[in-house]
Structures are given as C-alpha cells and as structure tokens.
C-alpha cells in the first residue's frame, strides 16, 4: 500500500520535474555552454575551441581511496590524450572540499589536469555523476559518450585484480579522439558516493549503470 503510494508520488514528481529524474539528465547537458573555472581561477570554455570533440570529466573526492588510487593512471591518460580534442578535467562535487584542500590534493597526487570545484554540484547533476571516481565523456551536443569506471582493476569494493584487463576509459577516449563510436559506452563505476547536498530522488541503488 505504502509502496503504491510511493510509486504514485514518484510518477507525479517525474511529471512535474522531468529534469530531476535520472533518464532526463543527460539531455539536459545541452542546456548551457560549458564553462569551467579551475583552482587557479582560470575559466575555460573548452567548446570555444573548434577542435574540441568532447570533454572528459572525472569526478573525484580527496578522501576516496579508489579515486586517489587512479590518479597516476589519470595523469598518464591526460598526457596520452593531451592534444586529442578530448580535454580531461577533475571535478570535486563535494561542497565541503575547499580550494586549499583541493590544492593540497593536487600537490600530493601530482594532478596535472585542471581541477574544478563544483560546490553547487551542478556539473555532477548535469551529467548525472554519482560516484568517485566516475569518468564521463560528454560531447558538444551534450550527449554522454561514455560513463563509468577507469578500468576493471577493482572488481568490487575491496576486491582487486592483479592487473586491469579492461581499460574502458582509455578505450573510450581513444575512440572519441578518433571520431569512432565508443564500443562499451556504459560501465559500472566503483568507489565512493558523491555527497549530494540533498537526496536527489531514489538514492539507494549504488552505481547502477545508466543508459547514456
């Protein structure tokens, strides 16, 4: 009975606020031009550059061990795809992460990609990111070309392989840089949850793959 009421409520919400629901979020990514301000205060509008094919956004938090573990890998990816038309950005969507804390994190983990503070969590909501680390490639039209993990080194929280055997984010970057479709556009990101200021809806299912 309660369940029926909940479903009815959700349906009402869906009708009233379609932008809040998961399925609608990626389309919303077209709404505004991308403007990203890094820790140094430099504002970038990457799509002003006509050679920019897509943005690669990786959501991180300074205290997420899995997100931190991937920083050396992300540094290498940043170097490999530096001039590929898919610029890489690190996004902090935890409102509690101060600029100072983010700067210390940059130094400790030798992060070379621009780091963006997303205190309003608008970037995370715009591309529907929920996990750190979660990698998202979004094109000029707002289409999500890739969403998910960096690679499959982690099989589950606390369960690692000896080495990654699927390099999904790398392969997606390579495909987008070459103008090819991404073969495996949705994988499951594993790690910590982005702490949204208010619960944005359903909540409990962590890191289920979502359709781009």
């Amino acid at each position: 009975m309660l369940r029926t009421a909940t479903i009815a409520l959700l349906l009402t919400l869906h009708a009233a606020f379609p932008a809040m629901t998961r399925a609608a979020a990626p389309a919303d990514a077209t709404a505004a031009p991308w403007s990203l301000t890094d820790l140094a205060g430099q504002t970038r509008q990457p799509f002003n550059d006509p050679t920019t094919r897509a943005l690669a956004l990786v959501f991180i938090t300074p205290d997420c061990p899995i997100a931190n573990f991937y920083q050396p890998t992300l540094r290498k990816l940043g170097e490999e795809f530096a001039d590929s038309g898919v610029p890489l950005f690190m996004i902090h969507s935890d409102p509690d992460v101060t600029a100072d804390a983010a700067q210390r994190h940059v130094e400790k983990f030798e992060i070379t990609a621009p780091v963006i503070l997303d205190h309003a969590q608008s970037i995370a909501r715009r591309v529907d990111a929920k996990i750190t680390p979660e990698a998202i490639i979004v094109d000029r039209a707002g289409k999500i070309l890739y969403r998910g993990r960096i690679d499959n080194f982690y099989e589950a929280l606390g369960r690692k392989r000896r080495a990654a055997t699927e390099h999904d984010f790398h392969d997606a970057l390579a495909a987008v840089a070459d103008g090819r479709p991404v073969a495996n556009p949705v994988t499951k990101a594993l790690g910590c949850h982005i702490p949204f200021a208010e619960k944005a809806g359903e909540g409990e299912a962590p890191a289920e793959p979502r359709t781009p």
Binding site: N68, Y70, Q71, A156, L157, G158, R159, K160, P195, P206
Partner: protein, 483 residues
Amino acid sequence: MHRLTFRPLAATAAALTLIIAGAVPRSAGANDEKPAAPTFNRDVAPIVFAQCAPCHRPGEAAPFALLTYQDVKKRADLVTAVTASRYMPPWHAEPIATAFHGERRLTDDQIELLRAWVDAGMPEGDAADLPPQPEFTPGWQLGQPDLIVQMSEEFEVPADGPDLYRNFAIPLGLTEDKWVRAVEFRPSAPTVVHHSLFFLDPTGQASREPGFARLSFEGAARRGRGQGDLGGGSNGRSLGGWAVGASPLPLPAGLAFRVPAGADLILSTHFHPSGTVERERSVVGIYFADKKPERSFTGVQLPPVFGALAGVEIPAGEKRYTKTDSFTLPVAVDAFGVNSHAHYLGKEMELTATLPNGEAIDLLRINDFDFNWQEQYQYEEFVRLPAGTRLEARVTWDNSADNPRNPSNPPVAVKWGRESTDEMGSVSLRMMPVDEADLELLQQSYRDHVRAAARERMSQRPAWRERLKRWIAASASNDEAVE
C-alpha cells in the same frame, strides 16, 4: 553431518528476524500509525561509534571520519551500500556459536537499521539519546611496550600498480630468551599498509642476509632451507599479526611465545598503493611476560605444512578444488585461536570439531577467503574440546577465470609452492591442553599425523623423500609450540 544441524536454524532465525523487522513499518503504515523511525542519536550512533569510529577517525587508516551526525549523514549512501554488501566493517569469518574477540561484524538487524534510518530521511533525534563520544587510547594500545623496535630503513611504496608483499627482518637484540605475551604493530604510513604477519627467525639469520627484504611474497630465503623459509612460510614461528582495524591482543590466560636470544622479528607486510608514493617504517612494540608461563600452548595445522603434503594440484579452470584433513585430539584441550592460509585462489576455509558425544562445533568458516585478510582470530572464551574430538578441515580453491583474484589469465594448473602463483592451504587451531601434563602427548600425536601424511605422499612420489624429510623436521619445530 551433525555440524550442519545448527546452521540452518541460525539462518532461519536470521531470516525470520529480517521478515519481522521488514514487516513492522509496512503494517504500521497500513494502520496509519507512525512507526518509530530510527534516529542517529538513539540507534545509529551506538553502531557507528562501536564498529566504524575506531578506524574512521583522524590519524587512523580509514579515509574519513565517522564521529558525528554530520559525518555519517554526508556518507549515508556509502554507509548503507558498504554495510549491506558487508565490505564494511571488514570481517571475513562467518558468525559461529563462539564469539570472536573484536568481531567487527554487523548483525543483519543492524544493517537493516542503517538502511531504515536513511530511508526515513536520516533524522538526528533527541540530543539526550546521543551516547558519549567514543574515547580512544592514544599511542600504544597495550601501554608502554617492554621493547620497541623499528624497520631498519624506510620502504618506498610506489604510487600505483598491484599490491605488494615484502618481508622485513628486524634484529631484536635479545641476549637471553624471553617470553612474549603480545606484539603491537604501528604502521608509519597507515594508508598503504594493509596487514602484517609477525614471524620469528630464531637463528637471527634473516637480518644478516642481504636482500632478504627484497624477496617477494612468501619471502623464502633461498639458502638454508628449513631455516630460511619464513614469512607466511612453513617454519617461521608465528607471533600473530595485524590487519587494518585490528586491535592488539595479548595471548589469553598468561600464555606467551618463547623468543630465543638472538632471534629476528620478521614482518611479512602487505601494501596497497594509494595513488601517491608513501614511505613505510613500521614500529613494533613487544610486551614480555615476567617469567616463563605456567601453561603452554601448541598449534594443530590441517592439512599440515600449509598443505605441502596434501598433493595440491589444481587443474586450470577448476571452480571448486577441495582438500580435507582430520585429526583426533588425544587429550582434552581449550582452543583459543584460529587462522587460515592460502594464496590468491583460496576460496573457502572451514574447521569443525565433532565432539565424542556427536555434537558438532564450527571453529572457523570463511565463505569468501581473501588473501589480503589473513586475520588471527581469537575466541572470546576458551572452547573446550574433550579427548577424542575429531577436528576436520576443508580448504577450497577457485582456479576458474570467474575468480577475479586469479593471478593467471587464462587460468593455469597450479601446485603447492611458495610463490604467489603457487598455492597453499590450511587452517590452524591454537590450543592449550586442559592438563599441562598432556602437552607432550598432544604434540607427539600431531607429529605422528604429519609423519603419516608424509609417508603417504612419499609412497606416491619417491623422489620427494629428501624434501619431505626437511618438511617433517620443519613441522616438528614449527607448530607455534611453547618449548
């Protein structure tokens, strides 16, 4: 078969509890009565303070603090997800009738309560309900150690790559034999140190051997077999170990390890890279007993010598490969600790006792063994096992491609050995004879068991004669016995 009797009962009880717990809010909702939603202060804080905060606080290994309502509210989604999957708190032994010391395991009801709290919108509740902030002892948990030693130099843990296993030999500088009742381990870089197993090299050879620390994995020193096989290996005498989240624990009932003069301490440490280069220089505190303990303990490992005599040959792709071994206790004992060992393919560990009256007791059950969590389990109370009790161990390996920990992709056939791509497998029970005078009979009986296993193995593989002789010699001096 007896040992199966109480398990379905426990499972049924747990399921019933869940059904009841789940049913309450629904029926209450139907009657328009507000169910009492759990609150942080009354319901959640006691769980978090007891089971999360010991590690999730500043300066400890866990990545963020869980000490306040705000801390937990902010991480609520993560907390419910990782408790539901039982990734957190880290605890790998299934619950058995006997409680383990420091059991960091949430009950099904506690996990359900955390979820219900999040579903209810994470109410903070009445401030009067909030228990006092947990107090933690700074520094050495067992008080000022009698001897403090440190790794002779830093070990650099790289920023990324697979997990690392390294042995470090530390001379203890003892000029006379000592009795050790506890060892406390303090990592200097807690974010990268996952666990450390402590061993003794009674000869003091390890610290004199250049390059010992560089040897990988089991760290078997190549020369002087029978003396050099140390970390995790067959005859390094165990002094227990430490893993993330564990608190140091003295042996019970005044028991102690004998540490001979001139011995080295070996730390067999597991590191997991954190994304940035870290440098570890562990500090170890050692607590001595004043005098030789009045009581002695010994260990029974099944199958013996970490499975070396069991003919472990796991075909490539084999999903469930099992070895069993059993041993009947000739005397009454009080069991107090249990641990198990395998490498990456280890999947399930089981040790049961069938008492002379037919009653079956689970002593250890691990359904998803993880090489990274080789914990030293100690029972909260002695488990009395009468003479004639049959101990039965079962080790199961998964050498299929489905096992994400499988170091070989595609899987290859694996035999017993010391390297990371070899396998071992055994369960060890630590026990004190009820009557001190029975110690020798108990040890002799176990040695006979090892010899019988060796003879059987030798009859199958005549060429192994020399190797087996060494292992038998090793096991006779091994078994963690007080001498």
